[in-house]
């Protein structure tokens, strides 16, 4: 019961708990708040997996930007929060069924397959190594550029759509 396993369980309880909150609460702003907690939990798990860079990026982008974006969107669509109407539609039981079947399926597969886990210790992951992995020679430079173009397209698209026709 060293600190690694116990912190893993704490984090996973936190993640799953707040994730359930996100999908079940009536008041959408509370869901957004729990969404932020879920993201922080996930960032904790990343740190556990020795991916500090990813943890920091996760916090920066998800918690710092995406949650705020969602909060802004929630506030702009203000009227719907007032009356906390029934949040789940008639597909709810079907949704629960599909989620549970998916979960069992994955569990069964995970238990039976033995993953070729290699014993070596992970290479010291520092920002340099990730930087060279992304942009170094013979690595993922092209996808990186594609990703940046995608981001640009998304930004322009979002602005055009959200601005609407008034001006």
């Amino acid at each position: 019961m060293d600190w690694h396993t116990c912190s893993f369980y704490v984090l996973s309880v936190m993640i799953l708990g707040s994730a359930l909150m996100v999908v079940s609460l009536r008041n959408i702003v509370h869901c957004a708040l729990f969404l932020a907690f879920t993201f922080m939990g996930v960032a904790g798990v990343f740190a556990l997996l020795h991916a500090e860079f990813l943890a920091a990026v996760q916090v920066l982008i998800y918690v710092g930007a995406i949650t705020v974006l969602i909060l802004f969107a929630v506030m702009l669509t203000q009227k719907t929060i007032g009356i906390s109407l029934k949040q789940t539609n008639r597909l709810a039981p079907l949704a629960v069924l599909s989620a549970v079947t998916f979960l069992c399926m994955i569990a069964v597969i995970a238990l039976n397959t033995t993953f070729p886990t290699s014993g070596q210790h992970t290479v010291a992951v520092s920002t340099q190594t990730i930087g060279s992995a992304i942009l170094g020679n013979g690595s993922y430079v092209v996808p990186f550029e594609v990703a940046s173009i995608l981001l640009l397209a998304a930004m322009v698209g979002a602005i055009v759509i959200a601005r609407g026709q008034d001006n």
Partner: protein, 352 residues
Amino acid sequence: MTLTGIAEFIASFFGLPGSSSVWIVAVLAAAILLGFMLLTVLILIYVLRKLLGKIQARLGPTRTGPKGIFQTAADALKLLIKEDTIPVKADRRVFIVAPILVFVPAYLVYVVVPFGEGNHFIAKDLNIGLLYIVAVSSINVIGVVLAGWASENKYSLLGGMRSAAQLISYEVPQALAVLGPVMLAESLSMQDIVKAQGEGLFSWFIFRSLPLLGFIVFLVASMAEINHVPFDLPEGESELVAGFNVEYSGMRFAFFMLAEFAASFTICAIAATLFLGGWHSPIRGFLDNGWWTVFWFFLKSSALVCLLMWIRATYPRVRVDQLMEFGWKLMIPLALFNVLVVGLYVALGKGG
């Protein structure tokens, strides 16, 4: 006598399993940092009021204790005693969580601030130090927006949205400005950055590459980040009365004040570390080891704190659209230009 020693002693004392000393070290470090932060905030508020008094040709607090030194303690006590009202219509839970969300990031940043040489003067020298700071400082945006929204009143919602927009639009130049020193030191970890500025005064990053540009961009962006005077739109008294913390009182309001002042000290500490050579002394090698490093660090960051206070006394407030325009049209291009210049400087330095 390092922290780990104390942790083992406590672990054995309470008969806990040996491996849990890691937890105890973490808890101890956290406690020390919290104590340190509260102390600095107390001193900071006191110095601010005295300095403002000096600049404005008046005395500043003199009543409480000799030369008014207990003034901030009295303020804190007053805030503690004052009754915590929560507006009836307000959304109770969010109303309580919001100040915590604003306070915690200001406190978390201390983990990475290098107070002195060697790793017993720094809580945890993460190798993604700087990215961690930028990431953590982006959390308080949520706190601000929720605080504005939870108090269910028109003014605070407008104040909350306005300050969230301000925080987001100044996060970008701040992150870009931080890139300068990172490139020069080729590492994100704070200790490496400080080590790279070892050779005396002119090796500091403030002078390397385009002098002062990165430093000014970072300082102005950070001032906007902590709602410092020229950009203190949310508390624009004359327009929206007291912005998003209008409904808060007592202890919760203290959280906001605490977060603001703690953040203003951290900003100065980081600026000192990134641009003014952290705990290095100006003359190479002179008094550059052990406890002296801590002295240099505090000298530089308190000098910057006084600079901030001086600016607080002299500048009026900027209008909200000018603020946005200033942020997007001036700060971000300037920050990008700074990254370009430093990049060239490093490339030429390495190549040449």
